[in-house]
Structure formats: structure tokens, C-alpha cells
Symmetry: C2
DNA sequence: GTCTATAGTCGGATAGAC
DNA sequence: GTCTATCCGACTATAGAC
């Protein structure tokens, strides 16, 4: 697992580390736009202002670079939601987690998952491809962060409902709720055209956030109400 | 708009039409797996048991074939949800559409959008690519069916809420709800691994259907309840 | 209408100079 | 460690035979 350091402006990296970093950043863009097969090492090297041979030298080839990109994506996602996941996981360790707090963590998790920034577009492209046509890189993404996120989300729902719901039911429910958040990245062009937006900026993301979290809250409250009625 | 006929086993097609059909069907698979750039006309011709030159002859080249594939996808989707959209659109013309019927149509629409069949995987691949990195083919998909589906869904939500909600709000809400349904196609691999499913078959789709429609109902009922309380 | 043969382009990888 | 030059394979498109 040759982890590639994230950009860290203050730090003094050796020439080698700088070259690796530039290549990975360029590769995220190019792989995101074109996919593993269609992307060309020439394009990546050019954008990174590095020599073509550097890819073979540092990563062993195109595939190795692609794996390094997957590891980089995990780091980016963990930098974004890792601290919240740590906190929420700790909270769930408590003997009796408060339902309102479960809901709050769930909403926070969904909000951070929306991530419609322009800078996320290349990452989204890669992740979507790996979801629909997984390669060996999918395991890096899944074991690196996706599984943990899914597990935490399902556990929060389960704890909110008082552990009355089956685990597999909560897994499906969280997957669906996360789908609401991701719809604005995965089906970006449709919402842009239909809503008449030219981009998904801060203003638009605020609207999305309030809708997604409101939906999640309405679903969970409704489920709890129904379960009370049936008991 | 050179529309390509959908497979129709009983009908007698000329050799030319048969060749076109075989090429489009093969192209859906290959473009779905690899994308426009990475897909090769050799692979497509081979799977279709047609000569490579036939692609240039019938479609003018790789790009023309890709456009034909987009038109084919529109036909497949319309064959699936077109009749329901016709009916629901007619229903909305009524002077005072019943909210319960709005909800019923919305749930039906979401159910049909789940479509996790193995045969939908290539279509999903193409649609997802076009959403995140649209080419000229996106307009074929959007104007052919996506816009109409989105418009209808948002209108159903609006009618259910008694036209009290703003249109753009309903657009975002429907996009989010549709995201719940599509999450199981767009993020297929994650749910397979987490739920321990080997495929998304009939049994799994039944679970997904009940969760997605239940969520939609809970959201809409909750919204209506809240709007009553605030008035 | 259908197919073969080929022209012209571009890709990834690597040998070997510095 | 870094880079240039080059090899070899694979691609699309087309000319022209049948």
C-alpha cells in the first residue's frame, strides 16, 4: 500500500515526492474524465508537467498509477468525513445512545456526502465507474472508506429506531438515503438542466442539504411513529 | 433521428435492419462497459457477428453508432415507463387531482425506476457517464425521456402538496427521491457487498421497492403534516 | 450491399544516454 | 533519478474487390 501524500503546501517534499504528487493529481482528473482504459499516460504526464517515463518509474505503469489514485481518493474522503465518523462511532459505543443525537449525526453524515464542489467531479467519475464496473481498485475504495461509512450510517439508523429494526433493513435504508445525497453528483447534468442552474455552487448546495436532511428526518420520525403504533 | 427498432422476434426484418439491430445491441454492452472512447468498433462488430466496415456503412462511424445507442436507450426506457407517464400526465390534467392518487403514481414511477435487472447494467453505465461527463448524446437522453420523467415526478409532488410548494423545491425533492431508487443501480457494488447479496434479483428488488416507496410516502406525508401545522 | 486489406494514427512500455 | 527516442501493438476509417 504505497500511500501517496496529500498536498501539503508548507512541507518540503523531495523532487521525487513532488513528481509523484503532481502525477496523482493529474491522474485523478484524467481518469475521472475518461476512465482507466481511455485515459492516456501522455495526457497525464503532460498535465503534471512530468516525463512520460516517470509513470513507469514511480508507479510501475498505468495500472499502478490508477491504484495510487484510488488510495488518494480514500485519503480525500477520510479527510472530509473521517473526524465525524470517529466521533459518531465513539458515540455509538455508549450504552444508550440518545436517538436525537443519532439523527443529528446521520444528518451531518449525509450533508458531508453531498460534496458537489467542482473539485469532486473527477473523484465522482472514478467512484461511479468503479461502482458500476468494479476493477481491483474498488476494494481499495470499499475497504478504505465506503464500507465504514455504510456500516456507521446503518448503525445510526438502527440505534435511532431503538435496535428494533433488522440490521439488513437499516443497511438498505441508509443506502437509499445516501442515494438522495449522491443523486446530485451522479445525476448532475439532469438537475442542472431541470433546475436551471449553471453550476452547483454554495447557494444550490444549501438547498440540497436542507432537502436531503429534511427527508432523512421525516423518514426516521415516520418509521418510529409507525413502530410505536404497531407495538 | 434514425430510430433503431427494438428487438421484435416475430417480425421479419431485412438483412440490413437485422445487422443494424445486432450492432446496436452489441454496442450498448460494449459502450456500457468501456465508455465511448475506450470501446472499440472491433469488439462491437465481433459481438454482433458483423463486419467492422458495417459500422461505418450503417451509422457513419463510431460516433453515429453511439448516438443510435442513445436513441435505443430512450426507446427501452419509454417502453418501460411510457404508458405509466401517459396515464399520470392525463390524470394531472384533471381540475383537482386526488392527493392519494398522486402518491400512488409517484410510488409506481419510483418502483419502475429501480430497474436493477442484469440487462439494465450496460444502460446504467452509459447513462451515468453521460450524467457526469455529458456528450452530445446526453441531449438525446434528456429530451427523449429524462426531462419528462423529472417534470412529471415534480408535478406529482406539487399536486400532492396542494400546489402550496414552490416548483423548484419539488424539482429538488423528486431528484432526491429518484436518487433513492437509482442508488441501487449507480452504487450497485457497495450494496451487494454490504448486504451480502450475490446479485440484485427479484427477492432483493422487492426489498428495495418497499423501502424506496415507503420512504417517499413518509416524506410526503410528513411534509403535508408540517405544512398543515404551519398554516 | 458486403467484406478484405491496408493506410495512417496513437497508445503503453522500455532501452539506454546523461 | 530523469529524460529522449523508439518499438510494437491496436485503433478507426477507407479504398476497392466482389
Amino acid at each position: 500500500m504505497s500511500s501517496v501524500p496529500i498536498a501539503n503546501p508548507g512541507e518540503d517534499l523531495g523532487r521525487g515526492a513532488q513528481a509523484r504528487l503532481a502525477l496523482v493529481n493529474a491522474a485523478v482528473e484524467v481518469f475521472g474524465e475518461s476512465g482507466l482504459e481511455a485515459a492516456t499516460t501522455r495526457e497525464i504526464a503532460q498535465r503534471a508537467r512530468q516525463n512520460i517515463a516517470a509513470i513507469a518509474y514511480y508507479f510501475g505503469g498505468k495500472e499502478g498509477l490508477y491504484r495510487a489514485v484510488a488510495e488518494h481518493i480514500v485519503q480525500v474522503i477520510l479527510a472530509r468525513i473521517g473526524p465525524l465518523m470517529d466521533e459518531a462511532e465513539g458515540f455509538l459505543e455508549e450504552t444508550k445512545p440518545a436517538p436525537t443525537q443519532c439523527l443529528a449525526y446521520l444528518k451531518k453524515l449525509l450533508e458531508l456526502s453531498i460534496a458537489t464542489n467542482q473539485s469532486m467531479v473527477p473523484l465522482t467519475g472514478i467512484i461511479v465507474r468503479e461502482q458500476t464496473h468494479p476493477t481491483r481498485a474498488f476494494s481499495i475504495l470499499y475497504q478504505g472508506c465506503l464500507e465504514r461509512l455504510q456500516r456507521l450510517g446503518a448503525s445510526l439508523i438502527r440505534a435511532y429506531l431503538g435496535n428494533g429494526a433488522a440490521e439488513h433493513e437499516c443497511i438498505v435504508r441508509f443506502h437509499a438515503m445516501l442515494g438522495e445525497a449522491l443523486a446530485f453528483r451522479f445525476a448532475r447534468e439532469t438537475i442542472l438542466r431541470r433546475a436551471g442552474w449553471s453550476e452547483v455552487g454554495d447557494k444550490e448546495e444549501t438547498i440540497i442539504r436542507s432537502v436531503v436532511t429534511e427527508h432523512a428526518e421525516l423518514v426516521l420520525r415516520g418509521l418510529k411513529r409507525n413502530s410505536r403504533r404497531n407495538s
